[in-house]
Symmetry: C2
Subunit: 218 residues, 2 copies
């Protein structure tokens, strides 16, 4: 009984927290500092103390605003990836033909990477570490990546069945190749440099759809 | 004078070492153990003691065979990458037209990845860490990656100038995209699973050259 009251009390306290503007503002400030630090020195290499110091809080007060480092990672990186994959799934379930869907998907991924920078940069770097066997710190990360892969395989299969795409290409592996081309860009693409995310997305989508060859004269 | 004699003595000792079959054999055994351990747990995460333990040597004796951890990385990963990039440069300087060169290059990179597995896996993972700002532990690593980029940009530019490749595509960024597609495969491609390195290289080269679209009937 006491336990159940305590749970209600906890929820009440949480609701109270979220309705207070100073709480919301401080949490936003923490998220912004954590985003900067994760991007600069890496998620794994960052401690809670590094972030607390940056926003002038002691560790105890810090935990009033933030549940854990994973909580921060989820709010910064995983939420951005989730919005992104939801948009990808929306593209997949549209009535467009598969070739239009695939081109939109590639363009969307690069534009949203730029728009959300560096949130997806942090996500991809951590995803990579996990694939390398670094273990999972965010349960949602793996789930989201599976949704990306399923969406992409779905479009490729659909395009092959409709006779739009080359049936000789292996579906799953070509999906990984396209995602890989995009994900690898976190190592060389920085917004505001030589090319915009949207132009890069168009260039990649041209490569994926039509290859590098000059178009034949008609 | 003493210093110069000592240098000669050192070289003499090194030559002597290399001509002794038991030395050569032990060093090969160490390289093979280090390759396995680097691939499994990561280069950075591996200590000299981990490898020494695996081959039943104390640290002092171990250093008789190996100069440093970087020395091991160079012999395992960088040497493989160097052979690979030398082959890429040979393709570039051939008399073939740019489209044939680019297709060969993509196929060569995937085949050699498989043939040398896991040596290039170790190389790419470490290269990635370095691009992420992890600092350089092997001076040769950066130099080799520059040679890959130069070779690829060179072929793309050549193809555009010859009217074979789409001139709207940004040279440098499309080069990075192609290399990225191939490099990202270290996270999902394992030799001996669903598809061979040479078939995957052909699928990737089809994608890069002609895109995903079904070929038009002629």
């Amino acid at each position: 009984m006491a336990r159940s009251e305590s749970a209600i009390a906890k929820r009440r306290k949480a609701t109270l927290k979220l309705s207070r503007p100073d709480y919301v503002e401080k949490r936003a400030q923490i998220l912004s500092a954590a985003t900067r630090i994760f991007a600069e020195q890496g998620y794994r290499e960052t401690s809670i103390s590094d972030i607390a110091r940056e926003v002038d809080l002691d560790r105890a007060t810090f935990y009033y605003y933030v549940g854990s480092k994973t909580d921060l990672f989820d709010a910064i990186a995983v939420d951005a990836a989730e919005e992104n994959v939801t948009e990808v799934e929306r593209i997949c379930s549209s009535d467009d033909p598969a070739d239009k869907k695939l081109a939109s998907l590639v363009e969307q991924l690069m534009s949203s990477y730029e728009r959300n920078y560096p949130r997806l940069f942090i996500f991809i770097r951590e995803y990579e570490r996990q694939l390398e066997g670094g273990g999972s710190h965010s349960k949602r990360l793996k789930e989201i990546q599976k949704r990306y892969d399923t969406a992409l395989s779905g479009i490729i299969r659909e395009g092959q069945e409709a006779g739009l795409f080359n049936k000789d290409l292996p579906v799953r592996e070509i999906g990984f190749s396209i995602i890989g081309m995009i994900n690898w860009s976190h190592l060389w693409f920085k917004p505001g440099r030589s090319i915009s995310g949207s132009d890069m997305g168009k260039a990649m989508s041209t490569l994926v759809m039509d290859g590098i060859r000059a178009k034949r004269k008609r």
